[in-house]
C-alpha cells in the first residue's frame, strides 16, 4: 500500500497546478457553481474543454493515436484532484469523454478509432446517449426503437427520451432493435448516429428546474450506413454495458471531484450563514452534518482509488466500483438538502431575487440533484446489480 507518487507524477501534478492557476478564466465565476452546465455556459465550456485538450489534460488514459496521452489512471486521478482543488469548470462533452470515447476505443474499427475520439476530447463534436425510451428505462433491454436493414443502410424509427445535451449534440450513441425475433438482449445493435441526419427531431423537455437540459429525440426513417455500427450487428447489449462500466469508472473520478468542489462551496456558504447570531459552522448539529458529508466524500475518493488499483494490476474492479455510484448519489443529494437547510427561509428564494444566497444557484442544484438517483441506472437498479452480480443473490 502506497499513496506516494512517482517523481514523474509529482511533476505532472505541479505542471497541472501551475497551468490551471494561469488558465482558468476569471469570467468562469459569473456562471455560478453548478454540477451540470447551464445553457448560458455552453459556449464558455466548449472553449474551456478545447483549452484543456490543447494542453493535454483530458483523455489521459486514451491511446495517443486517439488523441489521448497513453497514461494510467493514476495520472488521470492526479489531474482530476488538481482540478478539484482549483475549482476548475466542468467538462461539457462529458458523455463523449466518459462513455462514447472509451467504448469506441474498446470496440471500434481502425477507421472509427481514427475518426471519433480526438474530436470528442477537443469538444469539436459533442455526444449524447440514446438509450432510454418512454417505455424502457430500468428495463433497458426492452427498448423498441427499430432499425431495419435496407442494402448497406439501416432505417431507424422510434423515440428516445431523457437525452441530455441532444439539443447541442453532433453524435448519438444509439441502441436500436435489429432483430425483434431474438431474445431481448440479443437483438440490439449499437449505432454511431449523426444527429444532423434527415429524420432526427430533437424536442427539449422542460424539467423540474425549469431548464431544458434533457430532450426527446424522434427518429423518422433515419438512414444510417452500416459502417456506423459499433461492435457488430446484434451485439449492442454487450457494447452498451461496456459504456455503462466506463461510465461508472471514468465518470466516477469526475463525480467525486465535482462533489468535493461543491462541498467546499457548501462549507464556504455555511460560514456566511448565521443561526441565532453565530455562523452555521459553529452550530453543533450543522458541524455534525458537514463532517458527515466530508467523510462520505473522502470515502468515495478512497473507494475509487481501490478500484483504480485493481485496474492497474490488470484485475476488474468488483464491489468497489459498484459501491461508488450509489454512495455518490446518496452523498450528493444529502449535500444539496443541507445546502437548503443552511439557508433557512432564504431557501425559498430563487435566481433573480437580489437577496438570494449565491444568486440562487443552490436552489437549481438542489432540484437537479433529484435526477441523480434516476439517471445512469436508478438506485433501485444499482442495488439489484450489486445484489445479483456482486453478492450473487438470485434474480427476482
Amino acid at each position: 500500500m502506497d499513496f506516494t507518487l512517482t517523481p514523474e507524477q509529482e511533476a505532472l501534478r505541479r505542471r497541472v497546478r501551475t497551468w490551471l492557476t494561469a488558465n482558468i478564466p476569471d469570467d468562469w465565476k459569473k456562471f455560478g457553481l453548478s454540477e451540470v452546465p447551464r445553457p448560458e455556459a455552453y459556449e464558455f465550456l466548449r472553449k474551456w474543454q478545447k483549452t484543456l485538450f490543447d494542453a493535454g489534460f483530458i483523455g489521459l488514459t486514451w491511446p495517443k493515436e486517439s488523441g489521448g496521452q497513453g497514461l494510467t489512471f493514476v495520472e488521470e486521478m492526479v489531474v482530476h484532484e488538481e482540478m478539484a482543488l482549483q475549482k476548475a469548470p466542468p467538462v461539457l462533452n462529458i458523455l463523449g469523454v466518459g462513455m462514447a470515447g472509451p467504448t469506441i476505443i474498446a470496440y471500434g474499427s481502425e477507421e472509427q478509432k481514427k475518426r471519433y475520439p480526438a474530436k470528442i476530447l477537443s469538444c469539436e463534436e459533442i455526444w449524447c446517449q440514446g438509450y432510454s425510451e418512454p417505455n424502457s428505462g430500468s428495463d433497458l433491454a426492452s427498448l423498441q426503437t427499430r432499425a431495419v436493414k435496407d442494402g448497406e443502410y439501416w432505417v431507424i424509427n422510434g423515440q428516445k427520451v431523457w437525452t441530455s445535451l441532444a439539443h447541442i449534440a453532433d453524435w448519438m450513441m444509439l441502441l436500436a432493435r435489429t432483430d425483434p425475433a431474438a431474445p431481448k438482449h440479443k437483438g440490439i445493435t449499437y449505432f454511431l448516429l449523426d444527429m444532423k441526419s434527415p429524420g432526427v427531431t430533437v424536442k427539449p423537455l422542460k424539467q423540474i428546474t425549469g431548464d431544458a437540459e434533457f430532450n426527446e429525440v424522434f427518429f423518422d426513417n433515419v438512414r444510417v450506413h452500416e459502417r456506423q455500427i459499433l461492435g457488430g450487428v446484434n451485439n449492442g447489449w454487450a457494447v452498451g454495458l461496456t459504456t455503462l462500466m466506463y461510465e461508472r469508472l471514468a465518470l466516477g473520478f469526475g463525480l467525486q471531484v465535482r462533489l468535493r468542489i461543491t462541498l467546499e462551496a457548501l462549507v464556504d456558504m455555511a460560514r456566511r450563514m448565521e443561526k441565532h447570531g453565530r455562523a452555521m459552522t459553529k452550530d453543533p448539529v450543522m458541524r455534525q452534518k458537514l463532517a458527515t458529508l466530508w467523510i462520505d466524500t473522502e470515502a468515495l475518493k478512497y473507494t475509487g482509488a481501490r478500484a483504480v488499483t485493481k485496474l492497474l494490476r490488470g484485475e476488474l474492479p468488483g464491489p468497489e466500483a459498484s459501491a461508488g455510484k450509489m454512495s455518490w448519489v446518496d452523498t450528493h443529494q444529502r449535500l444539496q438538502e443541507l445546502a437548503m437547510e443552511l439557508q433557512g427561509p432564504y431557501a425559498m428564494l430563487a435566481r433573480g431575487a437580489d437577496v438570494a444566497v449565491d444568486s440562487g444557484v443552490w436552489q437549481y442544484s438542489f432540484l437537479r440533484s433529484r435526477a441523480n438517483s434516476i439517471e445512469g441506472g436508478t438506485t433501485e437498479i444499482q442495488k439489484n446489480i450489486i445484489g445479483e452480480r456482486v453478492l450473487g443473490l438470485p434474480k427476482g
Binding site: M1, D2, F3, T4, L5, Q9, V74, M77, V267, A270, T281, K282, P284, R287, Q288, L290, A291, T292, W294, I295, D296, E298, A299, L300, Y302, T303, A305, R306, V308, T309, K310, L312, R313, P319, E320, S322, A323, M326, S327, E380, Q382, K383, N384, I386, G387, E388, V390, L391, G392, L393, P394, K395, G396
Partner: protein, 378 residues
C-alpha cells in the same frame, strides 16, 4: 500509487483466516465469553508462535518488525472471528511502551509481550468517561524519589489478566489539560492497586475498574518524560483507533457474508429471500457501508504508518464512518435473518454486541465527526 495489499499481506490474511477458523470457532468464542479470563494460555502461546503478539514491534525487541497495514490485515481477520481475549488491550500497552519507553524498558517488556510472557494494558479512562486530556484526574505525586498514584480508572480492558498496567496520571496541574500528564508502568501486584472485573454486554470484551489507592512506584516506572505523556498517548490512541476500525471492518464483512449466504438458501413464499428486493436492496446497502468503511480504514492505516500530516484526520474519519457502518450492518444482518438472528444460538449477536462495544471505544461517530469538523477548520 497502489491502494491494495501486497502478496505478503495476502498471505498473512490467508494464514490468519485458516488459523482462526481452526482455533477460534464459535464454540471456542462462547466458551471464553463464559469465563472470566477470556482466553487460554495455550491459545496465547499459539498467537505468540505465529509472531502476532509482537507484529508491529522492531525485531530487536522480539517483534516481527511489520507495519500498521500488516496489522490491519490481522485485525480484520480477528474481527471476522470475533476473537475474544486480551490481544487488543495488550497492543495498547505495548504501543505506549514502544512510543515512550527507554531502550531497557522496551527490551524487557516488548520482548515479554511478543513472546507471550506478559500482557500490559492501558489504564487511561475514568468514571467521567472523557476521551480528552481533561478527563485525566488520577494524580501522581512525587514522593521519596518515586511517585504515589491515586484515582480510579474505568473501562480498562483486560486488567484482570495483565501483568502490568500503563497508568495515565496527572503529575502537574496547569492551565492546559494536555500539559502535566505522565505515563507509569505499574505491576498489578502493587500495594494499593485493586482490579474489579465488570460484567459487559459484549462478553468477548472484558472491562475492569482499577482503583489506585496511594500506589507507590519508583521513578523507574515513569514511561517517557514527566508531564509530557499526552502527546505520545494521543499518537498511540490514534493508531489503536485505526486498528480497532480494521477489526470492525472484518466483523462487518463477516456479517455481510453470513447474511448473503442465508438469503440464498432461506426460502419464503416459494423463493429464496435474497431474490426479493426488500432483502436484496438491504444487502446492497450493507455492502456499500462495508466497502466505504474499508476504504477509509485502509487509508488511515497507511496514513498512521507513514505518519503523514493528515493521519489524525484520516483516523477520525475512519472511526466515525466505521462506528456507524458496523452497527448498521450487524443490525441489518439480524433483521434479514429474522427470528433465528435474534437467538443466542446464532452467532449474529456476537457481532452486534461487538459493534456496539467497539463503537463506544475511543469515541463514537458523533465524537469523531466533531474532531473532523475541528481538523478541517469548520
Amino acid at each position: 500509487m497502489d491502494f491494495g495489499f501486497n502478496a505478503d499481506q495476502e498471505m498473512l490474511r490467508a494464514t490468519a483466516r485458516k488459523f482462526l477458523e481452526n482455533e477460534c470457532t464459535s464454540e471456542v468464542v462462547r466458551a471464553r465469553m463464559a469465563e472470566d479470563a477470556g482466553f487460554t494460555p495455550e491459545f496465547w502461546t499459539k498467537l505468540a508462535e505465529q509472531g502476532w503478539l509482537g507484529l508491529v514491534y522492531p525485531e530487536q525487541y522480539g517483534g516481527a518488525g511489520l507495519g500498521f497495514v500488516d496489522l490491519t490485515v490481522l485485525m480484520e481477520e480477528m474481527g471476522r472471528a470475533v476473537m475474544p481475549g486480551p490481544f487488543f488491550s495488550t497492543l495498547l500497552g505495548g504501543l505506549v511502551i514502544l512510543e515512550t519507553g527507554s531502550d531497557a524498558q522496551k527490551k524487557e517488556w516488548l520482548t515479554k509481550v511478543s513472546e507471550g510472557q506478559a500482557r500490559v494494558t492501558l489504564a487511561w479512562t475514568e468514571p467521567n468517561a472523557r476521551w480528552d486530556a481533561a478527563g485525566v484526574t488520577t494524580t501522581a505525586k512525587a514522593s521519596g524519589g518515586g511517585f504515589t498514584l491515586s484515582g480510579t480508572k474505568l473501562f480498562v480492558p483486560d486488567a484482570h489478566v495483565a501483568q502490568a498496567l500503563v497508568v495515565v496520571a496527572r503529575t502537574r496541574e496547569s492551565g492546559k489539560p494536555e500539559d502535566g500528564i505522565s505515563l507509569f508502568l505499574v505491576p498489578v501486584g502493587a500495594k494499593g492497586l485493586s482490579v474489579k472485573l465488570l460484567p459487559t454486554m459484549d462478553q468477548t470484551r472484558k472491562l475492569c475498574e482499577v482503583k489506585l489507592d496511594d500506589v507507590a512506584v519508583p521513578s523507574s516506572a515513569l514511561l517517557g518524560t514527566k508531564d509530557g505523556g499526552w502527546a505520545p498517548l494521543a499518537r498511540v490512541i490514534e493508531r489503536a483507533t485505526v486498528a480497532l476500525c480494521a477489526e470492525m471492518c472484518g466483523g462487518a464483512q463477516k456479517v455481510l457474508d453470513m447474511t448473503t449466504e442465508y438469503a440464498k438458501i432461506r426460502v419464503a413464499f416459494g423463493k429464496p429471500i435474497g431474490s426479493y428486493q426488500g432483502v436484496k436492496h438491504k444487502a446492497a446497502d450493507m455492502l456499500v457501508d462495508v466497502e466505504n468503511a474499508k476504504s477509509l480504514t485502509y487509508y488511515a492505516a497507511w496514513a498512521v504508518d507513514e505518519n503523514v500530516p493528515e493521519a489524525a484526520l484520516a483516523a477520525s474519519m475512519a472511526k466515525a464512518y466505521t462506528s456507524d457502518a458496523f452497527r448498521k450492518v450487524s443490525g441489518a444482518g439480524i433483521q434479514l435473518h429474522g427470528g433465528i438472528g435474534f437467538t443466542w444460538e446464532h452467532d449474529l449477536h456476537l457481532y452486534f454486541k461487538r459493534a456496539k462495544s467497539s463503537e463506544a471505544t475511543f469515541g463514537d461517530a458523533t465524537f469523531h465527526r466533531e474532531r473532523v469538523a475541528e481538523l478541517i477548520n469548520l
